[in-house]
């Protein structure tokens, strides 16, 4: 039984748990502040993002987020009109979307999102986007367009708390998704055999789960209903590489059903100039999940052709869809060791809230089940949120970083690739549409190895040189970890406790703690600002980040 009734009161421990699971951690001061507020109102504000000052974040994001210089791009030889594109000195924004989409640099796209996760004042929106990115897993390897990938993330950010059927339909129309699972090539006109790729995963991976209320015939019929789903590109969305003008890339796209109608934009999805869209949408009747639809009838108002078929999943198979969502939400936010009864309770909540994800998440994050101490640190954390949370807890605040000289933003562009991949999660580029297995599947010898390497960068002040400039990968200051306003540590255990309050590992056995502290401070303890003391503190932070306890959240 999952007790989904709301908690009436909470502690700082509860608040920190909320911060870890539904954000990327809270500082000790933030946790203390939130704990004084009533849980219901605080969770509502956490989910809705109300009462947040976004001004500095928006300003930094627009003009100076990436401290790593973009190198000069030399003109391609033999291409008429090609020009050399000068280097872009840092700091600047990430140069992967809008008019800069031609750069199409996955690492900078990953860095751009990591930066947002680290500094967004509405961390929950980024956490939900990361959750949905794992569920609607779409990969740059095939889409080959970072602007479209980030466009999908923005969709998840903006609509991740809509009704599930709305979100499912929106993702199905998303340009990156249309490329990823071949919707753009799904032609069911006349005797053409439809491409089942998207229809299968729309059921198996994105709404119901394998073998959960549908059969092969339903897949084929859904593929026919969604045939022709694609997008067009407007003149404003079409971007040329200034160093190689014939090379164009779409910085965005507009959903269309390719049904022989006039193209309102200048280009098709694959950037061909066509005044008329190809005719790919299927005809006749489709029987899907026991209901019959006329593919040639005018769709219901506000819907595209075939959309009513897709949307019928959540109504025709409501219990299965709710169960599917419950399983994923439980595994990501609460525990992977749920019982069948827990799952049924959460699924009932999803159905009772009519698949309204905002209402579901608010109820879940207020619930006694979520806050049960038995679920605290019961999940292994994925490597992206792990490294983001560590960067938040040990790095500078946005205002501090923006005011520092040089600016104190992490050099995410030098961290993300290939190290997130090697740590087990290649952000924006999963190897398949099933995303990544969560919880303890995150942990193996290789991913632990790369977590310890990331820990070195996070705790030990590692530097790297790019374009002649040496960057601290994660700018940190031991003085910030031990503010002057707080009492100076009197014992090694005070140092440990302070770092544990920042890093928030799962409980660490006293024997482990004592062995670490005895190793670092074998003699008398004295707190001072010397490099020797600071290096001991950094090594303790490193030991903590590498420990099995710090992989849990």
């Amino acid at each position: 039984m999952a007790d989904l009734t709301p908690v009436a009161a909470w502690t700082e421990e509860d608040v920190r748990h909320l911060g870890r699971r539904a954000g990327f951690g809270l500082s000790p001061a933030e946790a203390a502040g939130l704990a004084t507020q009533p849980p219901a109102a605080a969770v509502d504000a956490w989910v809705d993002g109300t009462g947040i000052d976004r001004a500095l974040y928006d300003e930094v994001l627009a003009s100076r987020a990436d401290p790593v210089t973009e190198p000069q791009r030399n003109a391609a030889s033999g291409v008429a009109g090609a020009v050399t594109v000068p280097a872009v000195p840092g700091p600047h924004r990430y140069l992967v979307d809008g008019g800069e989409a031609w750069r199409n640099d996955l690492a900078r796209g990953q860095a751009s999102w990591a930066f947002r996760m680290q500094y967004s004042p509405h961390a929950f929106a980024e956490r939900m986007a990361l959750f949905w990115h794992n569920l609607f897993a779409t990969g740059h390897d095939k889409v080959n367009n970072v602007a479209l990938m980030l466009g999908q993330v923005e969709l998840l950010r903006l609509h991740g708390l809509d009704r599930f059927d709305d979100l499912h339909a929106a993702v199905s129309k998303d340009p990156a998704m249309c490329i990823w699972l071949d919707s753009v090539l799904n032609n069911a006109r006349g005797s053409s055999v439809p491409n089942e790729n998207y229809a299968r995963e729309a059921l198996e991976l994105y709404s119901l789960g394998a073998d959960n209320g549908y059969n092969q015939q339903d897949i084929t019929e859904l593929a026919r209903a969604l045939s022709g789903w694609s997008f067009t590109v407007s003149a404003a969305q079409l971007v040329s590489n200034p160093a190689n003008p014939p090379q164009k890339v779409a910085s965005g796209g507009n959903f269309r059903v390719y049904d022989g109608s006039t193209n309102p934009d200048v280009a098709t999805w694959n950037l061909q100039t066509r005044a008329t869209l190809p005719s790919m949408h299927g005809s006749g009747m489709a029987t899907f999940l026991g209901r019959t639809f006329d593919l040639e009838a005018a769709p219901p108002p506000g819907m595209a052709k075939g959309e009513d078929v897709l949307r019928s999943i959540a109504s025709s198979r409501a219990p299965q869809c709710a169960q599917f969502l419950a399983r994923r939400l439980a595994t990501h936010f609460v525990t992977a060791d749920f019982t069948a009864a827990d799952l049924a309770d959460l699924a009932s909540l999803v159905e009772a809230q009519s698949f309204d994800l905002r209402a579901v998440m608010k109820a879940l994050l207020k619930s006694r089940w979520f806050h049960d101490p038995a679920n605290r640190f019961a999940l292994a954390e994925g490597p992206v949120s792990w490294v983001v949370r560590a960067a938040r807890s040990l790095g500078m605040t946005l205002a501090q970083a923006d005011g520092a000289s040089p600016r104190g933003f992490p050099a995410w562009a030098l961290v993300v690739s290939p190290y997130l991949d090697l740590a087990g999660m290649k952000l924006l580029d999963p190897s398949g549409p099933n995303g990544w297995k969560e919880d303890r599947a995150w942990l193996n010898s290789n991913t632990m190895r790369y977590r310890t390497k990331l820990a070195a960068a996070l705790a030990l002040g590692e530097t790297a040189t790019s374009q002649g400039v040496t960057h601290v990968l994660f700018p940190t200051s031991v003085a910030d970890w031990f503010p002057a306003a707080s009492p100076a540590p009197a014992t090694p255990q005070d140092v440990f406790d302070r770092l544990a309050a920042l890093i928030q590992p799962a409980p660490i056995a006293a024997g482990v703690r004592d062995a670490w502290l005895a190793g670092l401070w074998p003699g008398a303890f004295a707190w001072d600002a010397s490099a020797a003391t600071q290096n001991k503190v950094r090594q303790l932070a490193y030991e903590m980040l590498c420990s099995p306890a710090a992989q849990l959240y």
């Binding site: 090539l185 491409n195 038995a374 640190f377 019961a378 087990g424 010898s445 632990m448 990331l454 849990l552």
Partner: protein, 445 residues
């Protein structure tokens, strides 16, 4: 070692036709030189052909009712029989499988067609899960993981099973044992900085830090809520720590230059259809495996993976490119091992490659591609392999809802490998798989 001329002959369509002339007349086993006996220290290299390989376009039918059905259902993607290397029995090999044609005529390639399971699920993920578990009654562990449970030392044998993928596939998951994952040849060491290999130096105390990590991964959680997660992290960390010095000084394998070219290397004779270099993913993994074998890493099992076979669209371009990279990488690896001496004998004598894919694809093509299907192709390469065609070719005129009916249970492959290659007794083999599955004769009893 194979000569360049012979290689090209094997790869080209003209060469393939010439080989077909030699090969026709029913090649069910007994090709080329006789297989060698099982070596004292056998090594299994698993190749996961990920995405569902459209093997009907690797080994198309060349004659009879199957050919008629193939022509009907593959009007644009079907390959003309005239361009195939004739393997006999009404089966031909796609010349884009390149060097594998040559390996076949040398008698070192066994092809098992129609491999599958009852009540096949057309999902990649469910199918991969079943293939990985490989049990009569799946329980979440993998068949090679259960081999490790049964055969590996509970406290040692850290490097006996390795994957060169960054994940830990379900196939390798045991109830008490796990496989080490290694994706690079240098810097397998703790503590180490992010962006460079080697051990952390001053001002950091690497000895102290390594001791501290050992204490943490040798411990348990003090509270029940985090106990299972802590144990999982501790196991992973301990395997990393225990394995690190097995990979040479400061975690760096000795350098090695492959003795042959691999797909994607400059000068490799095959390219993509458009002239570009072939993908190097599997080639790099197999180079790393060869390097580990040459370094006498005591591994008995290596796991590799090549993705991209989910050819729903653009198959006429993508699939040939994939086959060239797959066939080329496996053949280069086999040839590369010929000159490698290990403490347990010649490396080529010690290795069998086992390639599998989660399913074959739909017989009827869609618009430019093929959708998910059922029965698949597995193949085995090695000096101990008795080359030829195994399993029955599915009847393309008797489809089940458009899909092939399987003819060989996938667990028969595992039973054969466990008993006839990895040296488990019949009883041990059946215990790992949960039932007795028929053994196939591509390996000698």
């Amino acid at each position: 070692m194979i000569t360049r001329r012979r290689f090209l002959q094997g790869a080209g369509a003209a060469g393939a036709a010439a080989l077909g002339a030699q090969a026709c007349g029913g090649m069910r086993g007994g090709l080329g030189a006789p297989p060698i006996a099982r070596p004292a220290a056998p090594i299994l290299v698993v190749v996961d052909v990920d995405g569902g390989n459209d093997w009907l376009n690797v080994l198309p039918p060349t004659s009879g009712p199957n050919r008629i059905a193939y022509d009907t259902l593959r009007p644009t993607l079907g390959l003309p029989a005239s361009g195939l290397a004739d393997l006999g029995s009404g089966v031909g090999m796609n010349p884009d499988f390149g060097a594998m044609v040559d390996l076949y005529t040398r008698g070192r390639l066994a092809l098992v067609t129609g491999v599958g399971m009852k009540s096949p699920n057309l999902s990649h993920f469910v199918s991969i899960d079943y293939w990985g578990q490989g049990a009569a009654s799946p329980d979440g562990t993998g068949w090679l993981g259960r081999l490790a449970d049964q055969a590996f030392s509970p406290t040692g044998d850290v490097l006996r099973g390795l994957t060169v993928t960054s994940d830990l596939p379900v196939m390798l998951r045991g109830s008490s044992r796990s496989f080490v994952s290694i994706t690079g040849a240098s810097g397998y060491v703790y503590p180490s900085p992010l962006r460079s290999s080697g051990r952390l130096g001053a001002p950091w105390d690497s000895t102290l830090l390594e001791t501290a990590f050992g204490v943490a991964v040798g411990s348990a959680a003090p509270d029940p809520a985090s106990a299972a997660g802590y144990a999982a992290g501790a196991l992973a960390g301990k395997m990393f720590l225990d394995a690190q010095n097995g990979f040479g000084v400061d975690g760096a394998l000795p350098a090695r230059t492959p003795s042959v070219l691999y797909p994607g290397d400059a000068g490799y004779p095959l390219t993509r259809l458009n002239g570009g270099a072939l993908s190097t993913g599997l080639a790099n993994q197999l180079k790393l495996v060869a390097r580990m074998i040459a370094a006498d890493i005591p591994a008995q099992i290596y796991f590799t993976r090549m993705g991209g076979f989910d050819t729903h669209a653009n198959q006429a371009v993508d699939h040939p490119n994939l086959l060239r990279a797959l066939g080329g990488a496996v053949n280069s690896f086999y040839d590369d091992l010929a000159g490698v001496s290990t403490s347990q004998g010649n490396a080529q004598d010690r290795v069998v490659v086992m390639a599998w894919s989660e399913f074959g694809r739909r017989v009827r093509e869609n618009n430019g591609g093929t959708d998910h299907g059922t029965a698949g192709l597995s193949f085995f390469v090695g000096r101990a392999v008795k080359g030829g065609l195994y399993g029955a070719y599915p009847d393309l005129t008797d489809l089940d809802n458009g899909n092939m009916r399987f003819t060989t249970d996938f667990r028969s492959l595992y039973a054969t490998v466990l008993e006839r290659w990895l040296g488990r007794t019949a009883a041990e083999t059946d215990a790992i798989l949960g039932a007795a599955y028929p053994r196939l004769d591509f390996l000698a009893a």
